[in-house]
């Protein structure tokens, strides 16, 4: 034999133990070769390794058509479709007439990043946020399954990426390799966590579920409703039926632009957001460190064709050392491997050394080192610098005037039931569910002037667009983190057991007498007093007859405020006919939620 008896095949020699030495491997090779067939081995130089295929039945069966049709990736698609439909259902039913008891904020409530970051910033777990354990525990066991089985935002990206993906062959493989830019999401995560520890909750800027809700609320649902209205479709297709005017939102153009950009980037790098920016994904990646089930590449079968990478969603390098923190458990690699070398296996511990197995009675190496990279690829240096960045970000953000009690924007009128501003910034994840459910379109995502960067996209009221409906507490029901505490109508109006506290006030209305028709223009009006919803009314009138400049005698009802009774609902501002700059307007003073912004010394009358 050409091996000179050193191949370890046992032909005429006793089998060599698996020592891991190259010689032993070479002996083994030769022995196998003699059984399985020829392989071209150069007479000099390092030998190529040839491993035999295992007989059928070891990993799977040559399946009938139906089993092929119902392979695991199909189930994954079903699951993605289901949760995407569930998400659309929640968005669709976040409306007074459809809400009933539907858990419309469920995606936010199970979101581990929301739950964890809010727990860090507020030291409490609000209401349903404990549901995030439903996701955390399986992630600890299975890895980042959420990213490809449940997350609706990723479904959106994956769908469009797939739809427009016209790459072929090697391009498909090249685009899915791991890049160092993918470390960015861990940097973002660390900055967010550090900020949360200081009491500023900014995860909502880049949390995928928050982005999804926010984008649908401010951009997609209104656009869809506009299209349905113009096409004459029935009200059942509207996201918001019964809304008398088209719903409009601040900065909708920006939100739309962002979503177009992020979805569009899928054509450049597939799953761009998920791989590069997603803070939730980063968190789940960290939690995958101790996943018990992982993608396992059988080195004895692998031919290094790299086809597994061609549809890898997570860019987790299944063809080399699997990056556990990047793997989305999408199973596309398993589908693509012609050698059946990949499987999803229960591997509680990583095997530290090559493992010998048996093949036709002969020892073979079945596993080698470095088939996986457990931790995210973030160097210690980068980790430290990121932490510093997070620490610095806090004062830079918080010392912005708009979020301080000395210079708060008078137009930052928060919904009823909101906690005081400091705590609000610890809780609001800018998901905009409150804005979604608001029946009058008064809630708007704040701009930078109204709340600074910390307050961006948090809910503020713009009374020119809508007003706070008296008997409505829907925003408090859908808020997942307690930025708007859940209140009942009783509590909002100060009835029953809440009579001593009085009604909740979100602001106070002021008259600009120089613009008011009866005060400055000898013209009767008084719409404001008519629509004031409290009883007795918070607007009273001085009634006097006047002989106008043209000689006619009119009865003028000149309105004035009763600040003890005003709850800041803003319907007066909304109905005031001086449309350009209302003669009565509400500002964020006289709130009951904090002493910072109270107006009167005596609390309001009950």
């Amino acid at each position: 034999m050409s091996c000179g008896g050193n191949c370890g095949c046992g032909n005429g020699k006793k089998p060599a133990a698996a020592t891991g030495s190259a010689d032993a491997a070479f002996d083994l090779l030769n022995r196998l070769k003699s059984e399985a067939g020829t392989v071209a081995t150069p007479s000099s130089g390092p030998p190529t390794i040839y491993f035999a295929k295992e007989p059928k039945g070891a990993h799977g069966v040559k399946a009938p058509g139906w089993l092929r049709g119902l392979r695991i990736t199909r189930w994954r698609v079903i699951s993605q479709a289901f949760f995407f439909a569930a998400f659309l259902f929640f968005i669709f039913t976040t409306w007074f007439s459809r809400l009933k008891g539907n858990p419309v904020s469920a995606f936010l409530e199970v979101d581990p990043l929301v739950g964890l970051a809010t727990a860090i910033s507020t030291h409490t777990v609000y209401r349903h946020l404990v549901w995030s354990l439903w996701l955390i525990i399986p992630t600890l066991v299975l890895g980042r399954w959420f990213c490809n089985w449940m997350c609706p935002y990723s479904t959106l990206h994956q769908f469009f990426g797939w739809l427009f993906n016209t790459r072929r062959n090697l391009d498909k493989v090249a685009i899915n390799r791991y890049r160092s830019i993918f470390q960015l999401k861990y940097i973002i995560l660390i900055v967010f966590i550090v900020l949360a520890a200081f009491g500023s909750l900014q995860i909502g800027l880049l949390d995928p579920i928050c982005i999804m809700y926010r984008t649908f609320t401010t951009a997609i649902a209104p656009a869809s409703d506009l299209a349905v209205e113009q096409a004459g479709g029935s009200a059942a297709w509207l996201f918001k039926p019964g809304s008398p005017h088209q719903r409009i939102f601040y900065g909708a153009w920006f939100v739309g632009l962002v979503i177009l950009f992020l979805v569009g980037m899928n054509l450049v790098i597939p799953r761009f957001f998920c791989r590069v920016l997603c803070a939730l994904g980063a968190l789940l990646g960290v939690l995958s460190r101790f996943a018990l089930w992982r993608i396992d590449r059988d080195v004895t079968r692998c031919t290094d064709c790299n086809l597994c990478v061609s549809h890898c969603e997570g860019a987790s390098d299944p063809h080399t050392a699997l990056r556990k923190s990047e793997c989305f458990v999408c199973f596309n690699c398993i589908d693509d491997c012609p050698e059946d070398a990949l499987s999803f296996r229960f591997m509680p511990v990583k095997k530290p050394q090559p493992v010998e197995g048996q093949l036709h009675g002969r020892p073979v190496i079945t596993q080698i080192l470095e088939t996986e990279a457990p931790w995210p690829a973030l160097s210690r240096r980068r980790l430290l610098l990121t932490g510093v960045l997070g620490v610095l970000a806090y004062p830079f953000l918080r010392l912005s005037a708009a979020v301080n009690s000395k210079a708060f924007s008078r137009k930052a009128i928060r919904p009823p039931g909101t906690v005081a501003e400091n705590e609000f910034l610890e809780r609001c994840i800018k998901c905009d569910q409150c804005i979604n459910v608001c029946p009058t379109n008064v809630l708007q995502p704040a701009t930078l002037t109204q709340g600074g960067l910390e307050g961006l996209w948090t809910p503020v009221m713009d009374m020119r667009i809508g007003f706070c409906q008296l008997n409505c507490v829907l925003c408090s029901e859908v808020c997942p983190t307690g930025a708007i505490q859940k209140i009942s109508i009783e509590k909002k109006l100060g009835l029953g057991q809440h009579t001593a506290d009085g009604p909740i006030s979100v602001g106070t209305a002021f008259f600009n007498q120089g613009r008011c028709l009866p005060w400055a223009m000898e013209t009767p009006c008084v719409v404001c007093e008519e629509v004031c919803p409290v009883s007795p009314k918070a607007i009273g009138t001085y009634d006097e007859q006047l002989k106008r400049w043209d000689g006619t005698i009119v009865l003028l009802n000149k309105p004035y405020m009763r600040p003890e009774l005003c709850i800041g609902c803003g319907i007066c501002e909304h109905e005031c006919p001086v449309a350009d700059d209302r003669a009565v307007y509400v500002t964020a003073v006289g709130e009951t939620r904090s002493k910072d912004r109270s107006l009167l010394l005596r609390s309001r009358q009950t």
Partner: protein, 256 residues
């Protein structure tokens, strides 16, 4: 009681023919509970719908363009439930439901956006309104009820309120009106908000002359002394009704 009241003005069959498409206009301006008297009583509306359907109407519709958010107003006032339970179709306003309406001879609304979608194909219109105190108009009753069908920037009309309400009487000549005095909002109208503002008037008025009905409601049920609101006189001057209700053929029935 409703049937008796309508019977007193000629009976429902006199007004509704089989096959009619009837629109009933309740007052659903605010999202108050029915007991607060700020909106039409859902029980009364339900009874009216049943009577109309029993008279043979092919289709009954209920519509209004509330001041506050339409969905919550229709729901919280109980109108949507009462209408649907009795087989009427509810129309909510939407941006494309309005069209320009021409009212020849009107001073202020000669051309104005009008909530037109529910009116397509309608042959009969019935108004059903509660009696409410109102600072500007003194009282809001049948003639004011039609305000809820206007669109556009209708908040400007308060600058000439007595002419707009007269214009409304010109705009809409209903088949008949029901002025519901079962819950009268005596003060803090038209929004109400407190049970102590409401008085049970125990009276129901059915009328073909909405001006007379309003005059009766003003002086007898709201108990206001002094002159009638100017808009009733304006309407009378334009030949739209008779504010001196004593001169109108009136029949009074006692129930229980």
């Amino acid at each position: 009681m409703l049937r008796m009241a309508i019977g007193a003005i000629g009976g429902l069959s006199h007004f509704i023919r089989p096959g009619d498409v009837v629109l009933i206009k309740p007052n659903v301006a605010f999202d108050r509970a029915p007991k607060l008297g700020a909106t039409t009583s859902p029980d009364m509306l339900g009874a009216l719908i049943r009577l109309v359907r029993a008279a043979g109407a092919a289709e009954v519709r209920a519509a209004d363009n509330p001041i506050e958010s339409p969905e919550t107003c229709f729901a919280k006032s109980g109108i949507a439930a009462a209408a649907r339970a009795n087989g009427a179709q509810v129309f909510l306003p939407s941006p494309t439901s309005f069209e320009m309406l021409e009212v020849p001879g009107a001073k202020l609304i000669a051309r104005w956006p009008f909530f037109y979608r529910p009116f397509r194909g309608v042959t009969k219109v019935i108004g059903i309104a509660p009696i409410k105190d109102h600072n500007l108009c003194s009282a809001s009753m049948c003639t004011n009820n039609w305000y809820g069908l206007l669109g556009g920037r209708r908040n400007q009309f308060h600058q000439d309120i007595h002419n707009i309400v007269a214009d409304l009487a010109l705009m809409m000549r209903p088949t008949f009106v029901i002025l519901d005095g079962s819950r009268i909002l005596m003060k803090n109208g038209p929004t109400g908000g407190d049970l102590s503002d409401v008085v049970h008037g125990r009276t129901l008025i059915a009328a073909t002359d909405q001006v007379a009905a309003d005059a009766f409601g003003y002086s007898q049920l709201l108990g206001r002394k002094g002159d009638l609101p100017q808009y009733l006189h304006n309407a009378h001057a334009r030949g739209l009704g008779e504010p001196d209700w004593r001169n109108v053929a009136m029949q009074e029935e006692q129930v229980g």
